[in-house]
């Protein structure tokens, strides 16, 4: 994935800063709580939500099961409709293909629709290095780009910014990139949206090359689908002469009809709307067909692997490829709400990021090895996921990979991972605990020792125990464990007094 995040500290350290930042905490709390209640209401409106969720899961599972077949079918359909299909095994290859395609048009700037895939591969940086300027046109992406910031949310990459901060960024930076912010710009959302409209208008109208991702690709028809709100997507998809779409290979659905599921579940899960303001679908180009001159004359589809086939090879972890990037799991996650998106060190933050990044990138780096632990396993993410990804299950599975090592697939090859360093003491403790728990006598001896020395127990701990007692007191150890009471009183029958 993007080089932007290389050298990230492990999640707990990165999260510590966020937890201590009251503005960030306030921004995230406000935004996530706003959307949580709305999503719940939007979902409650449809009585067949459970069935839609199940169908979505099955469509995606079936597609992944036959992914090779559907990829070939999609390629045929897109080609027949006048598009050109490219295959990119990794980020570098995808960037190379896109750069070449842009250069072939002779243009040195492109307009972009918000796209997770192009964020993932660091396309903007790759284009910049070749002298091509990429303008982000989604409002939140614009805020991130102008603020020289990193995205912190899948749907709303600038969720960590409040309206006042956004106004300051617009005032300070818009002039550097084009039309400056209007005089006297305030922090009302409507004015901020208007400022973005004016700033981006000139870029849309002169754009010759558009770059997008896609929410769905229909194998049987070769149709691509972009779901959006602002109209920046429509601008980028229809005004330029050349359109380049970079899409992960898992975004396929087999049939046109399958959209009836996802066009119901995606808007309600992401923006909590019955339907998002704009959805565009296109099949190849209109050249030589009715409506000639409608939309780009050249269409390129870049199919991206970049770790997806490795993820597909993991029988527990592959369910992460069902993800439709709605971000409902981020919005309900109590850990995301406090740690913020940047702590995840990836364009995919939150619960889905915690299972996606370590699979797409492997668990080799400090941040990736720490992500599976960035969860209390509360299950709120699984509950809201519209394609029923059991995120806690995959988190635990990835923890196992970190501590035990084992066989994984990297770049298509099976490799055997060693257990991660830094878990040796924990591993020894877990083994010791397992040994004791397999022997009730050993457990009882430990309990008694704890009870007899209870007067000596502090309420706070030194050393590694500080992790607990820095913020919480320890419970008092009782005079006797339950099992001693049970034995002493014959199951409470010989209980002294009347307390039991």
């Amino acid at each position: 994935m993007s080089g932007t995040f290389v050298g990230m500290p492990a999640f707990p350290e990165a999260a510590r800063e966020a937890v201590a930042d009251p503005t960030l905490r306030g921004n995230l709390r406000h935004a996530t709580h706003t959307i949580r209640a709305k999503r719940a209401a939007a979902v409650a409106e449809v009585s067949d939500w459970a069935e839609l969720r199940e169908a979505g899961k099955r469509i995606k599972d079936h597609t992944l099961r036959h992914l090779d077949r559907y990829l070939v079918q999609l390629e045929e359909a897109v080609t027949a409709a006048g598009g050109t299909v490219h295959w990119a095994a990794d980020a570098e290859e995808a960037n190379r293909i896109v750069t070449r395609l842009v250069k072939e048009t002779g243009e040195s700037e492109v307009v972009k629709v918000k796209s997770m895939a192009t964020q993932e591969i660091g396309l903007n940086e790759a284009l910049e290095a070749e002298g091509i300027r990429a303008y982000e046109t989604d409002l939140a992406e614009l805020i991130v780009q102008l603020g020289k910031d990193r995205p912190s949310h899948i749907l709303v990459p600038a969720i960590h910014r409040n309206r006042g901060e956004i106004r300051d960024i617009f005032r300070a930076e818009m002039g550097e990139w084009g039309r400056p912010a209007p005089e006297g710009l305030t922090d009302t959302p409507a004015e901020l949206a208007e400022a973005a409209r004016l700033h981006l208008r000139e870029k849309f109208l002169r754009a010759k090359v558009g770059i997008s991702g896609a929410n769905f690709m229909v194998a049987e028809t070769g149709t691509l689908v972009v779901v959006e709100s602002e109209g920046n997507g429509r601008m980028c998809l229809t005004l330029p002469q050349t359109l380049i779409s970079v899409v992960g290979i898992e975004k396929i659905v087999p049939t046109w009809r399958d959209l009836e599921v996802f066009l119901q579940t995606l808007p309600r899960s992401s923006t909590a709307e019955r339907m998002n303001p704009y959805t565009s679908t296109w099949t190849g180009t209109r050249d030589g067909r009715a409506g000639e001159g409608d939309g780009p004359r050249a269409f390129h589809l870049v199919l991206l692997d970049n770790g997806r086939t490795d993820t597909l090879a993991d029988e527990v972890g592959r369910q992460a490829l069902r993800c439709i990037r709605c971000s409902a799991c981020l919005n309900v996650c109590p850990v995301y709400e406090r740690a913020g998106g940047h702590a995840y060190g990836s364009v995919y933050p939150g619960p889905i990021g915690a299972i996606l990044s370590p699979q797409l990138r492997g668990t080799g780096s400090e941040i990736d090895a720490s992500l599976p632990y960035a969860s209390s396993l509360c299950g709120a993410c699984y509950e809201v996921c519209p394609v029923a990804i059991d995120i806690p299950e995959v988190l635990v599975h990835l923890r196992e990979r970190v501590v035990e090592g084992g066989t994984v697939t990297r770049e298509g090859n099976k490799v055997v991972l060693k257990p991660a360093r830094g878990h040796a003491a924990e591993r020894a403790a877990m083994r010791a605990a397992r040994w004791a728990f397999a022997r009730p006598g050993a457990l009882r001896a430990g309990q008694r020792l704890a009870s007899r020395t209870r007067a000596l127990h502090p309420r706070t701990l030194p050393g590694p125990g500080r992790a607990w007692s820095a913020a919480r007191d320890l419970p008092a150890v009782p005079a006797e464990p339950f099992r001693d009471w049970w034995r002493r009183t014959n199951g409470g029958n010989a209980e002294e007094g009347t307390t039991k």
Binding site: L52, E93, I159, R197, T221, E230
Partner: protein, 213 residues
Amino acid sequence: MSSRELILGRVRRALADVPPDDTPYEDAVARGYLREHGERGVEETVELLAENLADYRAIVHRCGEDELPSLLARLLAERKASTVLVPSGLEESWLAGTDVARVADRAESGPHELDAVDSVVTACAVAVAETGTIVLDGGPDQGRRRITLIPDHHICVVRVPGQVVSSVPQALERLDPGRPLTWISGPSATSDIELDRVEGVHGPRTLEVILVG
């Protein structure tokens, strides 16, 4: 080896653990969900469409076929539009009541040219009551996608009840995936500032929908 072969090979190896399954797709996925939500009569469906359009800040009008030209003339006048984009196949009579200058939807028109136009009037392909959505498919009475994108004022005429369906599944059945489709639910909006919805970004900030019939 090409990247195509490389990726397809990786996919096949990745699935080596999965038992073969040649169930036809129609049978592989259980579709226990509804074709539409609730039971409504024709008029109730149209009312639901109007309600949901309005809920997402589209301005909804209803009129009879014969009243349409005067209504369109009035809406354009209220908007103080001096130019209006007209798709080539738009019903001639619809704009018979207005003398606002017409601009044709032509292949050679550039974006800057369209940016100078005040309003656009189109028909639609289908409208979805449950979601308050109108769908354009680039048909002759709807024109190229950009004409409903660049002007700031879009008036869309829906023939009721003929063009109205209840649900998303029913809408997809009626639509041709080979055509470029634009699904529109209210004017453009964003939730990018504090996850709160604000109307009016890049697409037309005013969407008026006329239910005719």
